[in-house]
């Protein structure tokens, strides 16, 4: 599921802490959240992984901690929080 995040600077810190949540190591590969370059225009989109496969681990909302790690490390926390909320709602439907 892909979301526009207008104020995202594309720093990818969220990817690193997300992979840490899943594997205790920092990487791009094992993040449930991917920061994508917009095509043909500056800016970024957030992809949240829904289903598990060989390459991807789905977002579990950091169920074992109060505030998801990606939010704790995001400088635009309010915007990302809205995306996570929309993602959770869409999954429930």
């Amino acid at each position: 599921m892909v979301f526009d995040m207008l104020d995202c600077g594309g720093c990818k810190t969220c990817e690193l802490v997300c992979s840490f949540h899943h594997t205790k190591e920092f990487s791009h590969q094992f993040s449930s959240l991917k920061v994508l370059n917009k095509r043909n225009y500056p800016g970024y989109q957030i992809l949240l992984v829904e289903k598990e496969d060989k390459m991807n681990i789905p977002c579990d909302g950091c169920k074992d901690i109060e505030t998801p790690l990606c939010l704790q490390f995001c400088g635009k926390r309010d915007d990302l929080e809205k995306i996570i909320y929309r993602f959770k709602r869409a999954k429930l439907q």
Partner: protein, 658 residues
Amino acid sequence: MIKDIYAYAGNILRINLSDGKIRKDSTLDYSKEWLGSSGIAIKILYDELKPWVTPYDPANKLIIGAGVLLGTPAPGANKMNISTLGPITGGWASSCSDSFFGLELKYAGYDTIIIEGRAHHPVYIWIDNNNIEIRDASHFWGKTTWETLEMSRKELRNPNLHIISIGPAGENLVRGANIIQDRGRAFGRCGTGAVMGSKNLKMIAVKGSGSIKVANENKFMGILLKIREKFERLNKLENPMHEYGTLSVFYVKRKTGTVNYKNFQYYDIPDALAMKIDPIKTIEKYKIAQHSFPGCALNGCGKHLYLNEGPYAGLTTENNQWEVFENIQTRLAIQEPTFMVKANALCNQLGVDVDLIGGAVGWAMECYQRNIIDQGDTDGLELNWGNAEVVLELIKKICYRQGFGNILSEGCVKASSVIGRNSEYFALHNKGQDLYEVCRGALGWCLGACTSTRGGGHTTGAVTCEAIPENRKKKENWIKKAKSVYGVYNPHMVLEYEGKAKMVLYMEILHRINNCLGVCHFNTTWSNPEYIDLSELMNLYTTATGNKTSLEDFKKNAIRQLNLEKAFNLKFTNYDRKDDMPNLRDMQEPIKGSSLEGWKIDKEKYNKMMDEYYEIHGWDKQNSFPTKKTLIDLGLAEVAEDLKRIGKIGKTRKKIKY
């Protein structure tokens, strides 16, 4: 990846372009004593380059290192370093840049790449994890860095690929050629791009699919969260870097009277010009998206801009930082507000240091003003202040080494030696490198820039924080904290000579630690004494790597590097105390046209400050050379022997404590 390595990727990659041989060494052979990145680079360069090596010699080495904390979400952990024997100063050349390339490099399993030899024809290097190829780059040669990025993303079928590349300036051995990461971040100073060009290496692309582990993950994450909380509180109060990058200093620089206008003839711009070219307004008007790098606790200093009007309409690019504004826009008195954006983009595309452009063109324009040169020298160009189109033309002529541009491409001081006619006085440089730093009116900044081992620049010792409290909301808190960090009573008094040597020593240590760890200076006490300090950096380092150290030893690592940089310069150049001094113009002219009108450097006090600087380093104040005792204390006994052999060992020193 080796399992018991923490924070480091574990490997140093040696690629010899002459014979195509590729070898891997262990990072751990160097990391304990030399930390990482720039520290490892100076050790390798000092040990492996024979004294007869010259910058464009195949025997020179280009060392590309990712900081220790790169690949983790540590605050500001996104810096890489490129070091070599440089073509501008003839000595230590070292330059850092923000980087996604470095992240990929670490995830591919490498902390450092050493480029050796020279390819027989243009090549690029493709690192796809364990698979490393040297490929033909004939079709890239001649292309701009932006074209190279687009073409390489297509060729390697990866729209998110990160690369470092040189533009035409590097290919043409322009002395100030740089290396560009993707489109807009430069390893700007010291001419590292020319060395890359001399090796026929156009580009390096890297893809990494691995990961980085830290030694004590709970403690490491705990420290990160604590630092995040601190920045959240501070950022709410004010975060000018996030709003406008370093352009945010515009108003305070005008207030403190230190803006370069017309090649340092004046120290502020006229009010009418300031109204017209206010860079804050330009950013506000044209910003379309944010741009940030991993870990930045300030949430990034970049903006993507789109110019929808004016002479450069249609340009989409990342915003420039202050250096371009002050060194090209105001130094050359350009009236068009979007010129800084255009000039920055053009320099990045062609791969040239904005400071070489400002230095060389600024010198040429002043010489033209004073009738030292005329249209007969300049290929018919009228080098009048404010002539934007001529500046853009000169940037191209410099990068392609055409006509008068061929002379300017050597930098201002070498160009002045070609022209002669007493033009040297107007060539502002340090150890041969064009100087952007405003040297009158901010003494810690001046001392740090002029004593720099890489030749000028303000990121190897210069004190940036002196004038900043003027711009802070809670100025008193800021000063109180600064006093405790720097250990002086007057950290905010820019015109006082006392205490500045001590502040520069602190900055020399901090900058080197930052560069080794890959932490952006702006996240640290360099820009705000409340940001990350040396103790916090040490705690990040120990919990990430598992290497135990004390604060004293941690600082000693940086001092050891500084001494080896100094020894490297002594091995390859004849620099001594006189080369650590400001330019003649700065030593004798009073400031004109700013709030500091009439202020000038007191030569006696300045020299006393220099004496103190050398004394607290354990260097001989007569000639600046390190003493045998200083080097032995730092574990550099063999270096002391080397310097003794060439007659460059210091004789006397005071007892020192870092």
